[in-house]
């Protein structure tokens, strides 16, 4: 345990925020330990890794750990499950809380037997004394023991003593998903549950002028139609009827539409000219003595990424239940919901923040709202999960006492979710005679990356913006760089350049809602930086690997590059061995400049379209809790990034998003997926770093560099489609 000289033990931040031990774990008399984390399962395997941490410190078999899904009012409040921080934050808190709980229970046993606690041993929860007497956590189970704040009484285990952490424990959630047993929020089937559907506007900023609810209401099993301004929904006893009723409403609704979206074919021009707030995110000027080296050349290039969709396989869904009729409520107009208790089942990434946002939007006290996490499909960031919770809440408030389940259509999922923002990144560098960088300038244009609920003082929910008098969702903000940044994530060069400057132009208009998508700005920035490094190496006539290593001081960064070079056979690789149109390329970054290190080598083949044949990846994430799970995350991230890089682009016209099916928003298919090899470097006693996002940027850059190697053409606009390659060809 770390200590500070004045105050004793320094507790992990999540434990400081949620100090009561009993909020984190509870021993049950039947031989189970319930563990609560504020972090939620998003398909990334985090509950398994956290169960390992708890089991390790308690000396338990993992099978005895029951991970309890986050729920407001009971679970620790750990904000959002985002930023690859779950292991760093929740893992650290659980380590300390569970170590202390172990010490407390051992203290009780020691007291009963009148022996010193340090002679006792624990094996799978059974506590033994040297004289052979035994008891167990469950025999001693007493909630009162953990009804106290963590005090840092116990030293967590040294990593060298780990038996469970560091092993590939199978995922706790997969057996249900394969059995299959209902486990997704979509699978909920509460007594009396109704089915709701929302009819979204046909375009951005469209307002609902008129709708005849008659035909929909005439359908058998339709319960009611809910309209509030431009929010339009229907509730039915059967899901198939809700779908038909929504179709009837959609066909009948009259909307006033207006063009609000920029020209998609000239998106970079819009991004660099739209109104924006400009800020210098980071700057490092050379000391006078070192600036004497004269620059002999300057280079500049601009890169572009389009809007990207999270595109979850399972459309957003939530179920809500409003209990007790609102006193004096008169439908959608009287928003007097005093006395109502609202319960929401959601796959949101942050139950407490969603509760805060729902309460504000519905003018309820937070205590009137309970938000429960239930797993959804993988989300990869802020998608429609929170929005659909508001949809379900609005519909449920119209039918108190009956739960209402809402599932978005595929078209609404791809068409209305908040997107990863489009961006332009322009880099300029002065180099010396050898081509090494002397001064580096990185500029970003685009929307911010956060419109997540619960932080801002203004509305962040789609349905709330459509209600009568609803506040539009304000342009996205960015977290500060010290918290990982948004657009500026990974924009500060990780190389030892003598001088650099990073400038962000955050748009103050937001034609399409944007928010957090896996890796945030790290995707575009690393694609740009690492593409530009290859361009500089080429201009200097140097090998891209040698060029990077010559300017990279961080030994852990150098080690992942050296590892991936070795493993991929970089030095021996030649295009002629395979085919004329093949190429290889490298990309590297330390995610967020503070998290896991990752280097990727891509091998591509470019005939009419780009095909990625192989990705070789080396990662240093410090201590790895679950090696197989970590490998799965890195490989999955790299495959998703391959899909973004080769195929994905949100399409739109002046009115609305047009890429609203899997045909118009294609993603990588099984037959297009590259071979992926992942190597983790030894942890060397370094703390655990999240791995879920580390491969995104390096993969894109490696593919772009491999394409340039294959064709001799530098494509700076994503996705790397045939059209973009042709556009990048000289003359």
């Amino acid at each position: 345990m770390a200590t500070s000289p004045e105050a004793g033990p320094v507790l992990p931040p999540s434990l400081v925020a949620n100090p009561r031990l009993g909020d984190w774990l509870r021993v049950l008399p039947d031989g189970v330990v319930e563990v609560r984390s504020g972090k939620v399962e998003l398909g990334q395997g985090v509950i398994t890794a956290l169960a390992q941490v708890a089991a390790e410190e308690l000396d338990l078999d993992v099978a005895r750990v029951r991970m309890v899904a986050a729920v407001t009012g009971i679970s620790p409040d750990e904000g959002y499950t985002s930023g690859s921080l779950s292991i760093q934050y929740s893992g650290a808190a659980l380590r300390v809380a569970c170590a202390e709980a172990r010490t407390i229970y051992l203290g009780v046993a020691a007291g009963r037997w009148n022996v010193p606690a340090d002679v006792l041993t624990v094996q799978d929860g059974t506590i033994a004394a040297p004289d052979g007497r035994t008891t167990s956590y469950w025999e001693l189970a007493d909630d009162g023991l953990l009804d106290r704040p963590a005090a840092g009484l116990a030293e967590p285990k040294a990593a060298s003593a780990y038996r469970i952490v560091g092993t590939s424990v199978p995922r706790l959630d997969l057996p249900d998903k394969l059995a299959p047993r209902p486990r997704f929020v979509h699978d909920m089937a509460l007594d009396g549950m109704l089915y709701g559907r929302v009819v979204r506007p046909p375009s951005r900023r469209a307002t609902l002028l008129d709708v005849g609810a008659g035909p929909a209401m005439a359908l058998p099993a339709v319960v009611t139609v809910v309209r509030d301004g431009s929010f339009l929904g229907v509730i039915a006893e059967r899901e198939e009827v809700a779908l038909r009723a929504a179709d009837l409403l959609r066909a009948d609704a009259k909307w006033q539409e207006q063009p609000t979206l920029p020209d998609e074919d000239d998106l970079p021009a819009f991004l660099v000219s739209a109104p924006a707030q400009t800020s210098v995110l980071a700057e490092s000027a050379p000391a006078a003595s070192t600036s004497a080296k004269p620059a002999v050349r300057s280079h500049e290039a601009a890169y572009h990424r389009p809007y990207l969709a999270h595109a979850a396989m399972g459309p957003s869904s939530a179920t809500a239940l409003a209990r007790t009729a609102p006193a004096g409520a008169n439908g959608a107009h009287g928003r007097n919901w005093d006395g109502v208790r609202l319960e929401v089942w959601t796959h949101s990434q942050g139950v407490y923040l969603l509760r805060r946002e729902l309460a504000r939007a519905l003018q309820l006290a937070e205590e009137q709202v309970r938000v429960r996490h239930v797993e959804g499909a993988g989300c990869y960031g802020h998608n429609g999960a929170d929005d659909v919770a508001m949809d379900a809440a609005l519909l449920a408030l119209a039918v108190p006492g009956r739960p209402v389940q809402v599932v978005w259509s595929r078209s609404d999922e791809l068409g209305w979710e908040p997107y990863g923002p489009a961006a332009v990144v322009r880099i300029a560098a002065d180099v010396d005679a050898r081509g090494d960088v002397l001064a580096w300038q990185h500029e970003i244009w685009g929307n911010g990356h956060v419109t997540r609920p619960g932080f801002a003082s203004s509305n962040r929910l789609l349905a709330a913006s459509h209600r009568d008098g609803g506040e539009p969702i304000e342009p996205a903000a960015d977290p500060p760089l010290e918290r990982g940044g948004g657009a500026g994530r990974n924009a500060v060069p990780g190389y030892a350049f003598p001088a650099y400057r990073v400038v962000n132009h955050r748009l103050s208009v937001m034609p399409l809602r944007t928010s957090s998508l896996r890796a945030l700005g790290g995707f575009a920035n690393v694609f740009a930086i690492e593409s530009f490094m290859d361009e500089l190496a080429q201009a200097a006539g140097r090998d891209p690997v040698e060029y990077r290593l010559a300017q990279l001081a961080d030994p852990r960064g150098r080690a992942v590059i050296e590892a991936v070079v070795r493993r991929s056979g970089w030095a021996d690789w030649s295009a002629s061995e395979s085919s004329r149109s093949a190429g290889h390329g490298i990309g590297y970054a330390r995610y967020k400049n503070s998290s896991a290190y990752c280097a990727v080598v891509a091998e591509v083949e470019a005939v009419t379209e780009v095909r990625v044949r192989r990705l070789t990846i080396a990662v240093d994430a410090g201590l790895v809790i679950n090696p197989d799970g970590a490998e799965n995350q890195v490989e999955g991230g790299a495959i998703q990034a391959t899909s973004w890089t080769l195929k994905e682009r949100v399409r739109f016209n002046s009115l609305t998003v047009t890429s609203d099916t899997w045909d118009s928003y294609p993603i990588l298919r099984f037959s297009e997926v590259p071979v992926v090899e992942v190597e983790f470097l030894p942890g060397h006693g370094n703390p655990a770093l999240g791995v879920g996002e580390t491969a995104q940027g390096p993969t894109a850059a490696a593919i772009g560099n491999a394409l340039a190697d294959a064709l001799g053409v530098r494509v700076r606009t994503l996705p790397l489609t045939e059209q973009q390659i042709l556009a990048a060809m000289p003359g």
Partner: protein, 180 residues
């Protein structure tokens, strides 16, 4: 106009005749999930483009999200629940767990259906054949390569059990001949 008149509709699901009350043009998916409580078949797109809703109709993969009830009136529907039980999982489901070949798992029922159909027709597919057979299944988490390895492992286990069964059969035959 949509059919808006609920009727008694019968369908054979996992070998059991079932009767539900819905409209004839209701998609099979909603009958399976809500009327029959078979939640393993999942909604993904409603257009037959992603594979999360796949079931077997007379042994062939079919998208239940755009298959109306009238089209399956006299057909044999098998859902992922019909392929195995938690105690005796289908070899593909078993291999997916053994290989930890999923992340969020939302697509995985459809994957099991596609792979089961493939292996029923060909229990010795090459990797390219597995990938081609799964091209109608989208996976957003990037578990593709693990899934392909799991399907190949399931194929190997099916062949091994078939060979084992035929060896057993042969030895039983031999024993009986010896006994004659």
């Amino acid at each position: 106009m949509p059919d808006t008149d609920p009727k008694r509709v019968t369908v054979l699901v996992n070998g059991r005749p079932e009767e539900v009350r819905t409209e004839q043009d209701t998609a099979l998916l909603y009958v399976l999930r809500n009327h029959l409580g078979l939640k393993g078949t999942r909604f993904g797109c409603g257009l037959g483009l992603c594979g999360t809703c796949l079931v077997l109709v007379d042994g062939q993969p079919a998208y239940s999200c755009d298959t109306p009830m009238w089209a399956v009136a006299d057909r044999d529907v098998t859902t992922v629940e019909g392929l195995g039980t938690p105690q005796r999982p289908h070899p593909v489901a078993r291999a997916i767990i053994d290989g930890q070949a999923a992340q969020c798992g939302y697509c995985i029922s459809g994957v099991v259906i596609s792979a089961a159909a493939l292996l029923a027709a060909n229990d010795n597919p090459g990797e390219d054949e597995v990938r081609a057979a799964l091209d109608g299944n989208l996976c957003r988490c990037g578990a593709h390569n693990r899934i392909v390895r799991a399907v190949l492992a399931a194929a190997a286990s099916l062949r091994a059990s078939r060979d084992g069964a035929s060896r057993d059969g042969a030895s039983r035959d031999g024993a009986s001949r010896d006994g004659d």
